[in-house]
Amino acid sequence: MIEFLKRLFGHQGSSATAKERLRLVLMTDHLELAPEMIEQMKRELVEVISRHVEVDREHIEVNFERQDRTLALLANIPILSVNRPNGKAESTPPPPKPPKPASAKAATRNGEAPPSRKRRRRKKSQSQPQASTAPA
């Protein structure tokens, strides 16, 4: 009898789980439904980052990934070179940095994973705003 009552009252309902799963799955669905939005976001991300560093536009990857309870935005933006502040902006390639793809994804993989809803992960350069943005 006690067992029965326990079963009757002790159980936590599964509808909360259903709700949570539904919320997540729809978030992913809606993102998938709007590829043009992702493209737009990619362009804007690149635009902002290009103000500070020169990026490899050909090899940019932006993905959404389900991470247990949240959805994360993972951007992999290879950096070709760092623009110097007050510098001759363009074509002279700064000597020290070899074109190494700074994989933001890899960099934060082993990370802490705070449960923020959307995280932008990318290598941050010293954010000293610079006038010229290395025109395409």
Binding site: L8, F9, G13, A18, R21, L26, D29
Partner: protein, 284 residues
């Protein structure tokens, strides 16, 4: 002069003296949520209100609406016979045996969905709208061509959803595909108040917090539905049954009556629960 007028105006307007019924598609994306049952019962309820109603089974290849209505032995011609001009519309329309003013246009059983030509389907629905107050289109599951054809001639949509993650997700997708044109309204089917109360099933509020659609009504998970489907007699024929009455309330709302969306009766505490709650109270 009359001719000139009809050439200048749209085909819809040219039928000005005749009626222009409402073409409503019932859809869900997911299969097995009760589209066909809802179509049959809603059609019955609308016809019982005195409206003329035609039900189109657009599930070509998987004909089912005839079974739910108990008309399977009367089908002589079907949708594709009409679309391909083998028979006239009147030859293919089957009168319901329970309700006056209710007709069925059955799906072809031995054909496939991609054999339906979308423009012809549109033209058919348009011509039915001139003859009936309501054209209810029972859409097949899925979002492929069968869905597109079923939706093609419709102007409004009713989406049928059960309180399950997969069904809600599919409805969400279908509503996205429908866009704004169809002003979709929601029927939540197979709700079990007892489970909702125990937190084991998504509630009406949970579902519609996500879908955010105008709610036509909520239908309980009613064992009688199985019995009536076995017999081929829609439950809406029995107004004294709470679920049968719910279909009538949905029909009334659809027709524009100012009545609240029908809800299943609240879960009553069982004997065990009452005992349990007493025991629980003493303990705590």
């Amino acid at each position: 002069m009359h001719q000139v007028e009809s050439i200048q105006s749209t085909p819809e307007a040219s039928a000005a003296p005749a009626k222009l019924g409402r073409a409503i598609v019932l859809t869900s994306g997911k299969g097995g949520v009760g589209k066909t049952t809802t179509t049959a019962n809603l059609g019955t309820a609308l016809a019982r209100r005195g409206s003329s109603v035609v039900l189109i089974d657009a599930d070509v290849g998987l004909r089912n609406l005839d079974i739910v209505l108990g008309l399977e032995s009367r089908i002589t011609h079907h949708l594709l016979d009409v679309l391909e001009d083998r028979v006239t519309l009147d030859d293919a329309l089957i009168a319901d045996k329970h309700s006056e003013n209710l007709f069925l246009l059955a799906a072809a059983q031995s054909r496939e969905k991609d054999e339906v030509e979308t423009p012809k389907m549109q033209a058919l629905v348009a011509s039915l709208r001139e003859r009936f107050d309501y054209v209810l289109i029972d859409c097949p599951a899925g979002i492929e061509l069968g869905f597109k054809n079923a939706v093609a001639g419709a102007e409004e949509a009713i989406v049928v959803c059960t309180p399950e993650v997969s069904a809600v997700r599919d409805v969400d997708r279908v509503v996205g595909l429908l866009g704004n044109r169809f002003r979709p309204q929601l029927v939540i089917n197979r709700l079990r108040p007892q489970l909702v109360k125990k937190g084991k099933m998504l509630s009406v509020e949970d579902v519609n917090a996500i879908l955010r659609l105008p709610l036509l009504g909520v239908i309980a998970d009613e064992p009688e539905i199985i019995v009536t489907t076995n017999r081929g007699e829609p439950l809406a024929l029995r107004k004294e049954n709470a679920t049968g009455a719910a279909y009538h309330a949905i029909a009334a709302r659809l027709a524009g009556d100012d009545v609240p969306p029908p809800m299943p009766p609240a879960a009553k505490p069982t004997l065990f629960e009452r005992i349990g709650s007493l025991v629980g109270r003493k303990r705590s």
